[in-house]
C-alpha cells in the first residue's frame, strides 16, 4: 500500500504556518512537529521537507519508513524581493511532486486562500511587494484539482470545519490544541469599520439595485 502525502501550498502570508500546525497535530502524521512548540519558525530551516523543496532529487534518499502519512507545506515564492540576504526563490512544485511520486508515495494537494486585500497588504509590508504573480506561476502547473482551504472559514468554524475536510492523511480536529492555535484572529488588525455604504439602503428600504452603486 502506498504511503500518503498531503502537499499544502499558498501565497506568502496566506497562513502556511497556521495550517502546518493544524495538519501536524495528528500523532500519525510526519509533519512540522517542532512548529507546535514555537509560535513561528523559519520555513526554510525548520520545515521537515525544506531541503527537498530546494533539491527534490534528494527525496530518493529520504527514509519513507518514518510514517505512513506525510505532510509538507510551502509558500510560493520564498524569500524577499530585492533582498541579498534572503533573495526571492520560487520552488518548483512539479519537480517536487514528480520526485515524491517516484518514491511510490500518493500525493494530494491543498491550496490555501485568505482575503486578497489582506494578502496584498501583508506581502507589501513584509516582502516589499505583492508576490502573487510568482505564486500563480507555480499554481498553474498543478497536475490535478486541489482542495481549496480557507483561512476565514478555519477561524469561524474551527473544529467543525476541520471535521468536514477529507484528505489522504488524518486530521486531529478534536485535539484541544486546535482552539489554542486559533485563539487570536490575525485578520482582525486589518479590518476597520465602514460608516456608510450606498447598498445599505437596499436592506433598509427594500429598494432594488440594477447595478453596483
Amino acid at each position: 500500500m502506498k504511503s500518503q502525502m498531503l502537499i499544502l501550498f499558498g501565497p506568502q502570508g496566506a497562513g502556511n504556518h497556521l495550517w502546518s500546525k493544524i495538519f501536524s497535530l495528528h500523532k500519525d502524521v510526519y509533519g512540522w512537529k517542532s512548529l507546535l512548540e514555537n509560535y513561528w519558525e523559519p520555513h526554510r530551516f525548520k520545515e521537515p521537507f525544506a531541503k527537498y523543496w530546494r533539491d527534490p532529487k534528494q527525496l530518493q534518499d529520504f527514509n519513507w519508513d518514518l510514517s505512513f502519512y506525510y505532510f509538507t507545506s510551502i509558500s510560493f515564492p520564498l524569500g524577499i524581493v530585492g533582498s541579498d540576504v534572503n533573495p526571492i526563490y520560487n520552488p518548483n512544485l512539479l519537480n517536487f511532486v514528480n520526485e515524491v511520486q517516484k518514491c511510490n508515495v500518493n500525493v494530494e494537494f491543498a491550496v490555501i486562500g485568505r482575503d486578497q486585500n489582506i494578502l496584498n497588504y501583508q506581502q507589501t509590508r513584509i516582502r516589499t511587494q505583492s508576490t502573487m504573480p510568482l505564486f500563480y506561476e507555480q499554481y498553474n502547473t498543478l497536475p490535478k484539482t486541489p482542495t481549496f482551504l480557507s483561512y476565514e472559514l478555519l477561524y469561524l468554524y474551527k473544529s467543525e470545519y476541520l471535521k468536514s475536510l477529507k484528505f489522504n492523511i488524518p486530521i486531529a480536529y478534536d485535539d484541544n490544541r486546535v482552539n489554542e492555535i486559533l485563539s487570536d484572529d490575525p485578520n482582525k488588525k486589518y479590518i476597520h469599520n465602514v460608516e456608510r455604504y450606498d447598498l445599505d439602503e437596499g436592506n433598509k428600504t427594500g429598494k432594488i439595485f440594477n447595478s453596483k452603486p
Binding site: R114, Q116, Y157, K188, I191, L199, I208, F209
Partner: protein, 217 residues
C-alpha cells in the same frame, strides 16, 4: 431523474446575493434568475422565499422546468418585514420527502467584516444566531459543504470549478458573466481592509529568514 436542490445559506451580509447570482447562472439551474439582471433584490423576493416560512407548502412549487435548483436564504432573514430564522432544516426534509436530492452550502465570510457589516446595516450582530442555527444543519443527515467568500474573490473561476465538482452541481464557471458585477481589483471586502504599518511578528520573520550564520546558529 431526481431533481437536485442546492440550498445556499449564510449569515446576513456573507455574500448570499453574490453566490446566488453565480450558482443560478447555469442554464440547467432554476431559481433566482432575476439576479442576473439586478445587482440587489430583497431576500423575500427570492424564488423559494415563502417556503422558508412555510416549508410544508413546498409541494405546491413546480420543479418541472429544471433538473437543478438553487435556493438561497440568509440566517436570519426578513420576510414581509418580519425578521426570523428560516426553516431550512424543515425545507430540506420536505424537499427530500418529495423525492428530491438536497445539498446544503454554508457561506463564510471573514467574521470581523461580517460583524461590522451587520452592525452597520442591521443595527445588530446576528452572526451568532446564524452559527448556532447552522450547527443543527451540520449535525443533520443532509449533505453539507462550506463555501468561502474570500476564496471566490481570490481564485475566481478555479474556485467555482472546484465547488461544482465538490457539490456535484452545474456551475457556469467559464461564463464571463461571473465577473460582471465584480471589478477585477476591487471586491466587497476591500473597503473594510486597511494597511498595517507594523506587526510584532514581522521582525521575527525578517530575522528568521537570514542565513543561520547571521543568526549565530
Amino acid at each position: 431523474m431526481k431533481k437536485k436542490i442546492l440550498i445556499i445559506t449564510g449569515p446576513q451580509g456573507s455574500g448570499n446575493h453574490v453566490f446566488s447570482r453565480l450558482f443560478s447562472l447555469h442554464e440547467k439551474v432554476g431559481g433566482w434568475k432575476e439576479l442576473q439582471n439586478e445587482y440587489w433584490i430583497p431576500s423575500d423576493l427570492e424564488t423559494f422565499a415563502k417556503y422558508w416560512v412555510e416549508p410544508e407548502k413546498l409541494s405546491e412549487f413546480d420543479f418541472s422546468s429544471h433538473n437543478y435548483w438553487l435556493a438561497n436564504v440568509s440566517v436570519p432573514f426578513v420576510y414581509d418585514g418580519v425578521k426570523q430564522v428560516p426553516k431550512i432544516l424543515e425545507f430540506a426534509d420536505e424537499a427530500k420527502r418529495l423525492g428530491h436530492e438536497v445539498i446544503i452550502g454554508i457561506i463564510v465570510r471573514d467574521q470581523n467584516i461580517n460583524k461590522l457589516q451587520q452592525q452597520r446595516v442591521r443595527k445588530e450582530v446576528t452572526l451568532n444566531t446564524a452559527t448556532i442555527y447552522f450547527k443543527q444543519l451540520i449535525d443533520s443527515k443532509h449533505k453539507l459543504h462550506f463555501i468561502d467568500h474570500e476564496a471566490f474573490f481570490l481564485y475566481k473561476r478555479d474556485y467555482l470549478k472546484y465547488l461544482s465538482k465538490l457539490l456535484k452541481f452545474p456551475i457556469d464557471y467559464k461564463n464571463d458573466l461571473i465577473l460582471r458585477f465584480i471589478k477585477t481589483n476591487e471586491d466587497a471586502n476591500s473597503k473594510y481592509v486597511k494597511y498595517v504599518e507594523e506587526h510584532w511578528l514581522d521582525q521575527h520573520v525578517w530575522n528568521g529568514i537570514k542565513p543561520k550564520k547571521d543568526r549565530g546558529l
